[in-house]
């Protein structure tokens, strides 16, 4: 297991270099002079010269990339142009909000999705199956921001149960978590359902039936447990996606977070901040995928052996 972990971590190193390279190039891909993207408009020629020297903009792209990467690895992501604060501090301040939203949403979609999938699989091809699958499919076909807006209208304005927006009180987390979580629930429910139906066909399940084990004990203790392996994979793949993909929900609920930070940076054309956010979000996706693979390997030794060979 340790060998597998190290192998997987090492495999991420080249990916990190390439992803960071792309993030680095953003400043150069945007039309216009990179210097203009890195300083406030109306800066004096001295300040321009300072920026050029600092980012090495007079040197070759490779040299620029190496010095940029060196600074990134030592924790210096540059200074945000509009907000005039270190990018690393801004990201750190917003990270907690994103993690809270992402974590609770993930937990919600895991619990609700597995429950819905398990119930649907146990009542396969009956109305409760079709009903549950239909409702969860609905959650993934409506635009998340639209769902968020409608929930604000119903629960915050009409019923007044929760705050409309912001992040001052824990209740302001409920609607965003539901909005993100409902979107992810459909996939989890579908995967759980199919995995359970397929597991139920296995010989060991038939043996359990033959031994006279009660149906519900088999469903929950044996079939569901077996079926959770692909569910864990799906969930772990979503870790990074949920942290980065909640942009729309953070925006709709006016919540602080990495997503809304990136949106603001993009609309203000604050490129050091854009680079920082993107790098961080891509790292989150990478680490989320890694974590998922490790979890899967821990649960299923076959996977581990196949990868180690």
């Amino acid at each position: 297991m340790l060998g597998y972990t190290i192998r997987r971590l090492l495999a991420l190193v080249p990916v990190f270099f390439v992803v960071s390279g792309v993030v680095f190039l953003v400043v150069h891909l945007v039309p216009g002079d990179p210097v203009d993207h890195l300083i406030r408009t109306g800066s004096s020629p001295d300040q321009r010269a300072e920026i050029i020297a600092r980012y090495g903009l007079d040197r070759s792209l490779i040299e620029q990339y190496i010095s940029w990467l060196g600074r990134v690895i030592s924790g210096d992501l540059g200074t945000a142009i509009v907000m005039r604060r270190p990018v690393a501090t801004l990201i750190w301040d917003n990270l907690g909000y994103s993690l809270a939203l992402g974590g609770w949403a993930l937990a919600f979609s895991a619990l609700a999705g597995v429950a819905a999938g398990a119930i649907a699989a146990s009542f396969r091809e009956r109305w409760i199956d079709h009903g549950l699958m239909g409702v969860s499919l609905l959650g993934s076909t409506v635009p998340t921001f639209w769902l968020g807006l409608l929930m604000i209208m119903l629960f915050a304005v009409q019923l007044g149960w929760v705050p409309v927006s912001g992040a001052r009180h824990w209740t302001s987390l409920i609607l965003p978590v539901l909005t993100v979580g409902l979107g992810g629930m459909a996939l989890v429910a579908r995967v759980t359902r199919i995995a359970m139906i397929e597991t139920a066909r296995e010989d060991f399940v038939m043996l359990l039936h033959a031994k006279g084990v009660p149906r519900w004990t088999i469903q929950i203790r044996h079939v569901l447990r077996h079926a959770l392996i692909p569910v864990v994979t799906i969930l772990s793949l979503r870790i990074g996606l949920i942290i980065g993909g909640s942009v729309t929900v953070e925006y709709v609920f006016a919540r602080p977070g990495l997503g809304s930070l990136l949106i603001r940076a993009l609309s203000q054309r604050d490129y050091p901040l854009v680079q920082g956010c993107l790098l961080f979000l891509a790292m989150a996706v990478m680490l989320g995928t890694l974590l998922g693979d490790l979890l899967q390997a821990a649960m299923d030794p076959r996977q581990r052996d196949e990868a180690t060979r």
């Binding site: 953003v26 076909t141 996706v285």
Partner: protein, 284 residues
């Protein structure tokens, strides 16, 4: 393995009543979009501030927005933008993905490794972030939205085509064709691609639903089609400021987005089941 016979393909298009109905509903939606100028009751851009933010009525079935424009007409014209942007972007993505995937899978070696590692880059960014980034670089508008969505879905089509080609190129009928002296171009175009393409096209159809959602999201951030051209996402973007006194401005476009995605999913699922593509993909 045999490729799908086109006549059989048409026959199995409608395996269940539900997917047949979805197919018809999709067709209606597309026809509405195509014939928008004749079908919609009002022009999409005529403003009349004296009837701003009116609730749905007999005159304006879906109500009016904050400029007094008819929401129904804007939803119908918005279908044009949303559907065409999604269809064009998925077609582009499909075209690019099939070509790159076929080359990588057929040639193998360093071409494969280089091509796939470039394409796989997009997997490290959630698609909405990738799309936002691309639109931020290119500037807002329908063209950038199309390019952004096409790039966001490229990896999926490339991977799928590549896997198909790799399994197919080891099959006996390819060897037979090779031994009869067929060149690589002939093998690729006449032997491999026709057999590999069916599941890729079905996945493309299902992705069109996601593309509609992505287009709406970009529109919601104000980065899609620019005013006064209506798009579903754009309507919801401007409508969100009137959320409390004119909710119908955002409710209707959202319903249409959801309906098109649901219809596409049900219709695609039906085809998937009919072609048994899933089973074929799993055995490979």
């Amino acid at each position: 393995m045999k490729g799908p016979n086109p006549r059989k393909f048409l026959l199995v298009l409608t395996p269940t009543p539900l997917s047949a109905l979805s197919g018809i509903a999709l067709l209606v939606l597309i026809l509405l979009a195509v014939f928008a100028p004749w079908v919609s009751p009002y022009p999409y851009d005529v403003q009349n501030l004296s009837i701003a933010n009116q609730a749905p009525s007999a005159l304006h079935w879906f109500g009016t927005d904050d400029f007094g424009r008819d929401v129904l007409s804007r939803v119908i014209f918005g279908a044009r933008t949303s559907l065409s942007v999604s269809l064009i972007s998925i077609s582009l993505s499909l075209f690019g993905g099939v070509i790159i995937g076929a080359f990588c899978g057929y040639l193998g070696g360093w071409v494969d490794r280089l091509g796939m590692s470039i394409v796989d880059l997009t997997w490290f960014f959630p698609e909405i972030l990738l799309a936002l980034l691309i639109v931020a670089i290119l500037g807002p508008g329908s063209e950038s939205t199309i390019i952004a969505i096409a790039i966001a879905y490229l990896a999926q089509f490339t991977r799928l085509t590549r896997t198909q080609i790799i399994t197919l190129k080891r099959q006996t009928f390819v060897e037979a064709s090779l031994s009869m002296g067929a060149g690589p171009l002939h093998i690729m175009m006449r032997r491999l691609l026709p057999n590999a393409i069916a599941p890729v096209i079905v996945v493309a159809m299902l992705s069109t639903g996601n593309a509609i959602l992505l287009e709406a999201t970009l529109g919601f951030f104000g980065m899609g089609a620019q005013p006064p051209i209506p798009s579903w996402g754009g309507m919801m973007s401007t409508g969100s400021s009137q959320l409390f006194n004119a909710p119908w401005v955002i409710v209707w476009p959202g319903i249409f987005v959801a309906l098109s995605v649901i219809f596409i999913n049900l219709f695609g699922d039906g085809i998937l089941r009919a072609l048994d593509v899933k089973a074929r993909m799993r055995t490979q």
